[in-house]
């Protein structure tokens, strides 16, 4: 089984994506989906991605909910900042946070989260110093952002290994 499906999660995700794109559960779509997901998983072997194991699915759900809440909150906050930008210019700035993540997948996920959250932009991660350079739209709350990133870091460490 392992030889046929080197990345089971990836294959399942591809298969589901194929069914969603086709919007059908017809036998034809399923056969082509299984074929494609098997074939593309073999192609991935050549790319040699870092493999990580997903642990604790319950934690993942909680983490996703917390992230979604943060994204909604900062959407509203940033919209406010932009609308008020004429009268009261936003106080923006750079900040560095120490992020101790070795895992490439965890780093990629953190980048997605921080970019999807309006108000924080990922600029640079230094692998040796393990420090992340962010640009923040609302530098007055620097401590809050630092704590948020730290919380994400802890969550990602627990989920991905």
């Amino acid at each position: 089984m392992r030889a046929w499906y080197p990345y089971p999660l990836f294959s399942i995700a591809l298969f589901l994506m194929w069914l969603l794109l086709n919007q059908s559960m017809a036998p034809g779509a399923i056969v082509v989906g299984v074929f494609l997901s098997t074939l593309l998983a073999w192609v991935m072997v050549k790319l040699q991605p870092t493999q990580s194991r997903l642990r604790r699915l319950g934690l993942m759900a909680g983490f996703a909910l917390a992230v979604a809440a943060d994204i909604i909150r900062s959407n509203v906050a940033v919209a406010g900042i932009i609308l008020r930008a004429r009268r009261r210019p936003a106080n923006t700035g750079f900040m560095t946070v120490d992020v101790d993540l070795e895992n490439e997948n965890a780093l990629a996920l953190l980048a997605c989260i921080l970019t999807a959250t309006p108000g924080t932009a990922w600029l640079e991660y230094d692998r040796r110093q393990k420090s992340l350079l962010l640009h923040v739209l609302d530098i007055d709350n620097e401590d809050l952002w630092r704590r948020t990133v730290k919380r994400y870091e802890a969550g990602l460490k627990e989920i991905l290994q």
């Binding site: 994506m17 969603l20 794109l21 919007q23 994204i71 909604i72 959407n75 940033v78 919209a79 932009i82 609308l83 930008a85 004429r86 210019p89 936003a90 923006t92 750079f94 560095t96 980048a111 997605c112 921080l114 970019t115 999807a116 959250t117 309006p118 108000g119 924080t120 932009a121 990922w122 600029l123 640079e124 230094d126 040796r128 110093q129 420090s131 350079l133 640009h135 739209l137």
Partner: protein, 123 residues
């Protein structure tokens, strides 16, 4: 071809609300590009459109067509997923390019590149 009138009132209200808020989010994001003063500030503006705007408009589309065709529709989730996964690539590229240029031009307000740690046992 105008079967949108078949949409029941409750669904129409929710779809309208989602679409309007999503469109407003996207507009605010574009407005941010005009209003914010520096390049790094402007990096933040489009992320409102890609996160809030896209998600709300896709939810509206899901709900609208799910009610019209009376079945579950999920493939808009793929749009949300791919937009969220691919925006960091562009944003990081732009951010790094700006950072690199500003460092080469020796601008004061941009943080220096961190000094590499001395590694005595590297060689």
């Amino acid at each position: 071809m105008n079967h949108l009138t078949d949409l029941p009132a409750w669904a129409a209200i929710i779809v309208c609300g989602l679409l309007l808020v999503g469109a407003a989010m996207t507009l605010v994001g574009s407005l941010g590009l005009l209003r914010l003063p520096s390049f790094y500030d402007r990096l933040h503006a489009p992320t409102i459109a890609t996160s809030g705007g896209t998600i709300l408009i896709c939810l509206a589309s899901m709900l609208c067509f799910a009610v019209l065709q009376s079945r579950w529709i999920f493939h808009e989730l793929l749009i949300i997923f791919f937009v969220i996964v691919t925006t960091p690539v562009t944003l990081m590229l732009l951010g790094q390019a700006a950072l690199y240029r500003d460092r080469v031009e020796d601008r004061r307000d941009v943080p220096r590149k961190p000094k590499p740690v001395a590694q005595p046992d590297a060689e």
